[in-house]
Amino acid sequence: MTHEEIRELLGPYALDATDPMEREVVATHLAGCVHCRSEVDQLSQACTALVLASAPPRHIWAAISRETRRATGRGQPGQKRLNRAAPHRSAWIGRALAAAAVVAIAVLGVDIQRLHHRLDQSTAGQGSSVASAAQAARHESGARRIELISAHPAAPRPVAEVIATASGPAYFVNRSLRALPASKTYQLWALRRDRPISVGLLGADPSTVGIALSGPDATGTLVVTVEPASGSVTPTGGALAESGRH
């Protein structure tokens, strides 16, 4: 198909109005043509003018709420998510899983939002008090120390650690991660059902940082990546360090 023929299909494509084969051809073309992709995006955007909204139906929200609760593992195991293919999973997750033998954990249902909020309030902000709180946490009964090992193949050494207390608060303690430029940050992730969930932003030059770590996440795999300063929804950087590596 010529480029012109593909361009003629962009309108129908934006309306899901092509044949299946044409759709494949256009989709493949869009992956490599910024100009056409930009046009399709604008045509898709134009479709918002075709649909006016009314109030969202409540009965559907109840179903959405139920299903997303199930997907995060509260209550029954999130079988749906486990079975779903994850085509965009980056390579390092597979490696981390192979290395760390992540166990499917029954979620305790800890509310991450509340944990974050509580930490916001309790963390005084003075570096020294966070550091001393972390120090004290090390000796708390039931506290766990999770080493984060460098992903560098030649030098698998601990570069940081996480202290996870049984009572709730947790701490990221940097040992040798270097300062990043201000446009970047370190970000900590927990692998939950082989999907990375952000535990928090550690900052460009972390020493000791209070973090919110739910029970199951503390026993799963933790990973550190480098992200843009405002953080990312899903890791864009490669794994810098992981727990459970040997």
Partner: protein, 236 residues
């Protein structure tokens, strides 16, 4: 450590410096596990947050962020689903799948490429058309055609919908000002779930004509939304 002693700011591991007792510069600024602009503090901030911020919060499994996205866009998604597959169980399913899909894969939304509403509507439309095409029951097809006829018969097919504060007056006029042939082709394709070939058959027009009417009409609508950044009225 004074600035002169600091190692050069190269990201990564400093293999020469693994001494855990080495003194580190105290962290002056509070660092919490909070993404800038995140909305996990409660209702008020969720309502004021941008769509992109809400999607980030959804990525951190914020149920209140998902609820707010549903409040903003659930009506549009449901409305589109109803217009394509008819009100009922299937429209409910389409709506549910779109929002559960956003919860499961929030990273698929790219704010640089378009609005969240456009993204959700595209997901809804795609799913709805799949359901339509899988539909084999003749009764359902006939019901659909009846629905469509009554919709097209009304002066403006948008008249029966409630106004939305998100779409300005100009946009509404934009749709109504489309040349009739472009608007009809778009409506038959978009809401009828038809391929352009099927639209051509219905209208007894050449397929090329239908394709270009659809593209022209959408480009015109696009200009209504963004007159400066949009596409020119005539395709190049």
């Amino acid at each position: 450590m004074n600035p002169a002693e600091r190692p050069p700011p190269v990201a990564g591991i400093n293999s020469r410096d693994l001494d855990p007792t080495r003194k580190r510069r105290a962290v002056g600024r509070r660092r919490t596990g909070r993404i800038a602009g995140s909305t996990d503090r409660g209702e008020i901030e969720v309502t004021a947050a941008s769509d992109a911020t809400l999607v980030i919060a959804i990525g951190r499994e914020s149920g209140s962020a998902l609820a707010e996205v549903y409040r903003r866009h659930g009506g549009a998604v449901y409305g589109l689903a109803c217009r394509v597959v008819g009100a009922g169980g299937q429209a409910d399913d389409v709506t549910q799948e779109v929002f559960v899909g956003l919860w499961s894969r929030p990273e698929r939304y790219d704010a640089a490429r378009g609005s969240l509403r456009a993204y959700l509507l595209a997901a809804a439309h795609s799913r709805a058309v799949d359901l339509l095409r899988a539909e084999s029951s003749r009764g359902a097809r006939e019901a659909r055609h009846l629905r469509e006829q009554s919709r097209l018969a009304s002066k403006s097919s948008l008249e029966d919908q409630v106004g939305d504060s998100m779409l300005g007056h100009e946009i509404r006029r934009g749709v109504e000002r489309l040349p009739a042939d472009e608007r009809l082709a778009i409506e038959l394709a978009y809401f009828g779930g038809r391929s352009y070939r099927e639209v051509a058959a219905v209208l007894a027009e050449p397929e090329g004509t239908v394709k270009s009417r659809i593209r022209r009409g959408l480009r015109r609508l696009s200009n209504t939304l963004e007159p400066e950044a949009g596409l020119s009225g005539t395709p190049r």
